[in-house]
Symmetry: C2
Subunit: 339 residues, 2 copies
């Protein structure tokens, strides 16, 4: 049975593909945060024994995929398709991290929305019997991101209060046509939103409209309200972007404040870990999803979850050329029960 | 009826989605080449009236998508999904070029394989009734690519004989469940191949193994031979990579020499246009596909075509760190007739 279209961009997945396994690999700082007990691997040496930060980031992806495959008792030859991407120029985190696996590969670029983009595509493919097993993965690394997007660490640049801290981490999922929760019930593909924000140190503000759009779209398509969900969790809006998201949805008379949280707020402790506006990066929503959130859905503590990863589609070059920051968010409805 | 899996990574598209419309937009040098009569728009000013090369590249995508939509008599609101990517860091060619369209957007990164990746995904979605209309698009620009991957033009760097010339151009297709050729009959998703090539000026050699893999896979999956096709066309291997591809397949007793051509060899005249080993860039295979090739399939001059766009998944950073060049190629079987 093919997926059912609820609107132009919302796919109701009739078979509810299962997230057969998931794994998260993070760095030292993330391992010192409130979610430490939920990660599969915490590296205290954030080089991961590699000679460069970029090679370390690649290894995060290698390790999270291998851990997820191991939990699913699958060899790479049993995976039909791999959806992956990251923040590094030309997405080298993924291509170098996954080249040894020999799995058919579709590379993605969704900035920090990549976990929802890749999980969404893998789930749509599984729901339509196009794959038996598909893997979705992404990563980010604080040190590779800082030198690519801002300054090399050695420069010792100051950070503004609205700036976020790129998470060192990776999350991977195996999506299958199997029978155990968590299930993926629906996917809404985002549209690029650009309200003219130009402040590179305030990504949360740039991304909030994209999250607001896709949440409103899904609630409308499914005739549901925020209280129908146990958690509506955004990717990495941080504290500034989260407040804006709630305000934006309030303007449409949608109040998500009681069920909203943000992976960028969850991964670090604001009192003991100085990260200003919160965590960010592809690896932020990926590692929080593939640890705490999916465990809670699996055990039934959380029953209905909307996962919305948000991405800022800018580059240092576009900022230097005076452009505003377009953003996108994709939504995945994850549940403890099938439709 | 869902797509039929012929192997782990080959999807036979039962309904044969139609390429309802296609359009190409190129720069001055491409307009002086042998295919000049087939392009929809030739810009003699390669700034396209924009202030930066990156903005000019974005405009190539805006223009090719709008031209394809116009030919298909579709407004953006009638398009369910847009698959797009490019070579620029963080794929800003696509995100800035397409942000005004307000179409649900999945960003891709496949380097120069992006036209086959995006067309393949759009076709799989159409074949499974997941979209009524989907758009696939990519681009490259000589000037934005030179300064990002090699040297700014002002530096006047010398080029080696194996170097290729990045095409300034974009190609866009509208894939629909309609009844006119060209049709997409099958898609094979590539795997990352890395034989250890480290020469940034010899991308053709790095990409040839990826093309060889996917061609061999598709011929095996379909029990066909090269002579069953009128054209087996690779993306941008250029002269060096094309020779290697033929040699690699000969080792497996597959002789494609009589039906093979390469978009990088087709777009420029080696006698009058000094581009060394040929054209390259996402826009090379995209603009040749969305002009000469699809016109020939539409008219029936070419009946069965295998289109294989090839991408080198490196970055300047990975090269500086001593890494070899992983590559990927995706295959799309395009035909004048349905299965």
């Amino acid at each position: 049975m093919p997926s059912q279209k609820l609107s132009q961009n919302t796919f109701k997945l009739a078979s509810c593909p299962s997230i057969k396994a998931f794994a998260s690999v993070v760095g030292k700082k993330e391992g010192e945060g409130p979610l430490f007990a939920h990660f599969d691997t915490i590296h205290t040496d954030t080089t991961l024994g590699e000679k460069t930060w970029e090679k370390a980031e690649s290894k995060l992806q290698t390790d999270s995929v291998n851990a997820a495959l191991s939990k699913a008792s699958l060899s790479p030859t049993e995976v039909d398709l791999l959806f992956a991407g990251d923040l590094l120029n030309q997405c080298i985190g993924s291509s170098f991290g996954l080249r040894e696996l020999n799995i058919p590969f579709y590379g993605l670029y969704g900035a920090c929305s990549t976990m929802a983009e890749s999980l969404g595509l893998a789930s749509i493919f599984a729901d339509n019997n196009l794959v038996t097993n598909a893997v979705a993965v992404t990563s980010s690394h604080f040190c590779s991101a800082e030198r690519q997007f801002r300054f090399p660490l050695e420069y010792g640049g100051q950070r503004t209060p609205t700036a976020q801290w790129t998470v060192t981490g990776s999350g991977a999922v195996v999506v299958s046509q199997s029978q155990d929760p968590p299930y993926v019930k629906a996917v809404t593909v985002g549209k690029i939103q650009d309200l003219g924000i130009k402040d590179i140190n305030n990504m949360g503000a740039a991304m909030a409209p994209a999250a607001a759009y896709v949440i409103k779209q899904y609630l409308t398509d499914t005739f549901t309200k925020p209280s129908d969900y146990d958690l509506i969790v955004t990717g990495d809006l941080g504290t500034v972007g989260s407040d804006l998201l709630i305000q934006l949805l309030n303007m449409d008379k949608i109040n998500i404040s009681k069920v909203h949280n943000d992976c960028g707020k969850m991964i670090f402790d604001p009192n003991t870990q100085d990260v200003h506006a919160g965590g960010s990066g592809c690896g932020c929503s990926a590692s929080v999803l593939c640890s705490y959130i999916l465990k809670q859905v699996q055990s039934g503590v959380l029953k209905e979850v909307l996962f919305i990863a948000t991405g800022a589609l800018m580059s240092p070059t576009s900022i230097q050329q005076g452009e505003s920051i377009p953003a996108i968010a994709h939504l995945v409805h994850i549940s403890n029960k099938k439709w």
